[in-house]
């Protein structure tokens, strides 16, 4: 049984991790941006990449959120059933968001729906949003923290295709979403594609897909091949940074899938902007933590 003190400590750790995420991009994203920067040689893409990297340096130096839109916080929890703070996790994460909002500081991004009032705390009805997966019977927990701005949230889309449309329909849908709305979503994008039965499962998978580390692949070889084809194909569109045209469009394409009803193909697409602020932290049964996405971090 965990103590109040342990709950407080975890709250502090999660608040500090959330604040850090606003200011520093994860290692995989930085590596990929560095790679894509080298590919661009046009004057507009180059001035945009120069500004992006200068911005990251300044954010670190001045300890400020690198993008002003620090999102409506989402947590993806993969916990064992015996994680000591499982039942208190919602209040811990909610309090961590309040604390990070003050300390980072984060932008006030929680508007109570229908009341149309900004709570000023980044918390509100069911916000932060928490996605729960009980993955084992052990005492550990792994938590993804994600802050996405409105710009890269806007392209999010899901629909249910008829089987006759096939995977070809999935490809068309991904391209339609990216060419219609991706340009405004701060490319190079990380594109998540969920393939499942219905809109909500496909949409959720597409969001989980962009929590995955860049460079990882779907375990199924056909799905991994689809990821590669989509990545190469979207890059061939040549969106460039900020959609100003260039050599590349995406940091990657990740596909997640479930088995599905034979009469339908549910497809969801989520996009993450170049300032893809997500991080993963693991807690063991003694509540010791380890940051998995940002090297050399002490919280």
């Amino acid at each position: 049984m965990a103590t109040d003190r342990e709950a407080q400590e975890m709250t502090g750790t999660m608040a500090r991790f959330t604040a850090l995420l606003a200011k520093r991009l994860p290692d995989d994203v930085l590596t990929q941006l560095g790679r894509l920067r080298k590919v661009e040689d046009g004057p507009l893409p180059r001035i945009v990449y120069d500004t992006m990297f200068k911005n990251l340096e300044l954010a670190a130096e001045l300890d400020r959120p690198c993008c002003q839109d620090t999102g409506a916080l989402q947590f993806f929890v993969r916990a064992g059933a015996r994680f000591p703070l499982l039942g208190r996790l919602r209040s811990i994460l909610t309090e961590a968001v309040r604390e990070a909002t003050r300390t980072a500081p984060l932008r006030h991004n929680a508007v109570e729906t229908f009341e149309e009032r900004n709570t000023g705390t980044n918390t509100g009805t069911n916000l932060p949003w928490i996605d729960w997966e009980i993955v084992s019977d052990d005492a550990t927990a792994e938590i993804d923290v994600y802050m996405a701005g409105g710009g890269c949230t806007l392209p999010g889309s899901a629909k249910v295709l008829m089987p006759g449309e096939g995977y070809e329909g999935v490809v068309q849908f991904v391209f339609d979403v990216v060419t219609s709305y991706g340009v405004n979503a701060c490319p190079p994008l990380l594109v998540g594609v969920g393939i499942s039965t219905s809109v909500e499962t496909a949409a959720l998978l597409s969001k989980r897909a962009i929590q995955r580390r860049i460079g990882t692949h779907h375990p199924n070889p056909k799905a991994a091949e689809l990821e590669r084809l989509l990545e190469d194909g979207l890059n061939a569109l040549g969106l460039g940074p900020q959609g100003l045209s260039g050599k590349a469009s995406v940091m990657g394409v990740h596909v997640e899938s479930t088995a599905r009803h034979p009469s339908v193909i549910g497809v969801g697409v989520s996009t993450g902007c170049w300032a893809h602020r997500r991080g993963t932290i693991r807690f063991d049964g003694s509540l010791r933590h380890q940051v998995l996405t940002h090297h050399g971090v002490t919280l």
Binding site: T51, L58, C66, C67, V171, T179, N184, E225
Partner: protein, 202 residues
């Protein structure tokens, strides 16, 4: 040599620019986004800031309240301009604004407003909010604070604010629209090529 615009911006200052040019701004810059536009255009409210010859930024910043009416700009990148497309033509006509800064492109109504009233839309690189905040010398005042931090009108004095990439000029050119046409023209062949390789349902 980079071009620099200074508020108040003249028609001639606007007319010298072409979509794709890079420019910087000196002078006054006011944040104004969804609800600010809606209040002026739909509700007919007077904007509490004189924007004749002025510049607005589609942005919802993070601002630190230093007390005694003093504020510091912490982080202020541009937001998606397309959300303001519905209002911008009327907004330009009503306010006399000359420079609209945001992220991504805008549509035909804004192009028409820019052409008719000699104004431009320019893109500040999205997500580069600390670079932008450092170019804010001072927050001079804030209006419509009842809208909350992101939606309030933050009136700032800026120095060499940019890079600003002109996306809509006063001659009817729309850089992002042309780019989108290019991307869409490339799309069909790529989709067909991939589709050929993913016929997993047999």
């Amino acid at each position: 040599m980079s071009k620099v615009l200074k508020t108040p911006i003249s028609d001639a200052g606007v007319e010298q620019l072409t979509a794709g040019d890079i420019v910087f701004l000196d002078g006054s810059l006011v944040t104004c986004r969804d609800v600010g536009h809606r209040r002026l255009v739909e509700r007919g409210m007077e904007l509490p800031v004189d924007l004749r010859g002025g510049a607005i930024l589609h942005a919802g910043p993070i601002v630190a309240d230093r007390g005694g009416g003093r504020f510091e700009m912490v982080s202020v990148g541009p937001t998606t301009s397309m959300r303001m497309e519905k209002f911008e033509k009327d907004f330009i006509a009503r306010t006399g604004v000359k420079l609209i800064v945001g992220k991504g492109g805008m549509g035909p109504e804004t192009v028409e407003g820019c052409r008719r009233h000699k104004a431009i839309h320019a893109i500040f690189p999205g997500g580069c909010a600390v670079v932008a905040a450092r170019q804010v010398e001072e927050i001079e005042r804030v209006e419509w604070r009842d809208l909350g931090m992101p939606e309030a009108l933050w009136v700032s004095r800026v120095s060499r604010f940019g890079p600003l990439i002109v996306s809509i000029d006063a001659k009817g050119n729309n850089l992002v629209d042309s780019n989108k046409a290019l991307f869409n023209a490339r799309k069909a062949a790529i989709v067909e090529e991939i589709s050929r390789q993913v016929r997993f349902i047999r």
